[in-house]
Symmetry: C2
Subunit: 283 residues, 2 copies
Amino acid sequence: MSRGQDIRRAMTAEQVKAYQENGYLLLPNYFSRAEIDVLAAELPIVFSEDSPRRIIETNEVSVRSVYGSHMTNEVFKCLTCHPRLVGPAMQLLGSNVYVYQFKVNAKVAFDGDVWQWHQDYIFWLKEDGLPSPRIVNVIVFLSEVNEFNAPLLIIPGSHKEGVIEVPALYEDENTQTSTWISSLTAKLRYSVSKETVTRLVRDYGMEALKGPAGSVLFFDSNLVHASANNISPFDRNMVLITFNSVENIPITRGTPRPDFLVSRDYSSIIPVADDAMLAFVTH
Amino acid sequence: MSRGQDIRRAMTAEQVKAYQENGYLLLPNYFSRAEIDVLAAELPIVFSEDSPRRIIETNEVSVRSVYGSHMTNEVFKCLTCHPRLVGPAMQLLGSNVYVYQFKVNAKVAFDGDVWQWHQDYIFWLKEDGLPSPRIVNVIVFLSEVNEFNAPLLIIPGSHKEGVIEVPALYEDENTQTSTWISSLTAKLRYSVSKETVTRLVRDYGMEALKGPAGSVLFFDSNLVHASANNISPFDRNMVLITFNSVENIPITRGTPRPDFLVSRDYSSIIPVADDAMLAFVTH
């Protein structure tokens, strides 16, 4: 069987339909324990890098997120080329894809802070000039996500609302740094209003996406989502990879955000072998 | 059947055993919808009272808690005398009881803030000179508590550890107000350390206590508990009543905290009739 055939049948027709209808698809145990161990072993290295790519929580101590690690770390680079992620992304977008953004969200035990209710695409539209939401988010659970460690809360079907206009949180920004940092911290630049969330939850309901380490979530960039603070003793580490269609390159006006937030490398990803992560296992 | 007999059989032997073993007992639908509607109808009145008994969240807008409403509100006074609460409290403590503390915790939709990991008794020991944990907490759910609106998280069995000594968060307080206020806001004066919570959860596990409006939770004042912030569109209103044994009166040193935090009325509660709440139904 050729690699091309593998990718074409990445998701079943039912899975694609569920993704399109609900705005997400959660696949439990999509990566093996051995593969997740390989990824998790890189976290201490990534978290300890003192870099503008690392965002600290408002407690000024804990790591909140690290961006762009696939540019510096071979294991995470391999993950962004993994056929189990790239295949469905190509299938859903109907084209070749590239990595638009990569991050690790730490949501550490006791100190992981809130992510307010938001859609992702509006940030990329307003900040980066991304022409359309022809883009797929993929989350790889590096920890078990349970009812205690602040699972992602989503409003299923809310992606059908398209871009929900919101008043920008900070009208005046003096420096470029404060502009882009306001998309990354606990106070989000474009959060969906309480009134809108209340209406959407009444119309669509609400779900908490839980699963063992190794589970993978594909979700639409217009899906409304949030997560609470993590007061449990359990870390909740996730990798988030955003794949963009190579036919949906941002049209930048003014100075673009740093390349660890909006990649300038538009070359199509060539998937690696399905067992590629296991090459990094240390014995 | 006399009222005395009612009270003696307030909890079954199995329920008492479960309470003593786990440190809590959750009774779903303990009050009827009609009774809860009576209580919930008082919330707007209680929340709108501008008083030192009302504590505001760190967002400086939302009501976090209101203390001592049973002293001013007939409906909540009736609740503190309800045989379904007073009976089990007398049974568990083996004596007559009085209301040590009363509060409504709002934990409002979107803005309800965290309660850090803590035990209750240590506050009353250190701040009020309460001789022993011969005291019972009762929580009445005025809202449905679900996985989205920050249920109480508890470590079952942790009450067996007794008082867990913790370093006081604020060493120096300049005014009496700032001293007692630090027991009531999101930054707790006596919170259990991350290391201890991690150990306790490893040893005892962890539970999220959910249930429909009308459920009632009895819990030990040494049970370690916490709750996250509420980012959902669902309020999570609860009444918390602490019954103390009349044989366990505080031994005050110095200036006592305000009487809405530590009651000076030690007279034994005389339970009202079981259907007393329904007298407040408005037609």
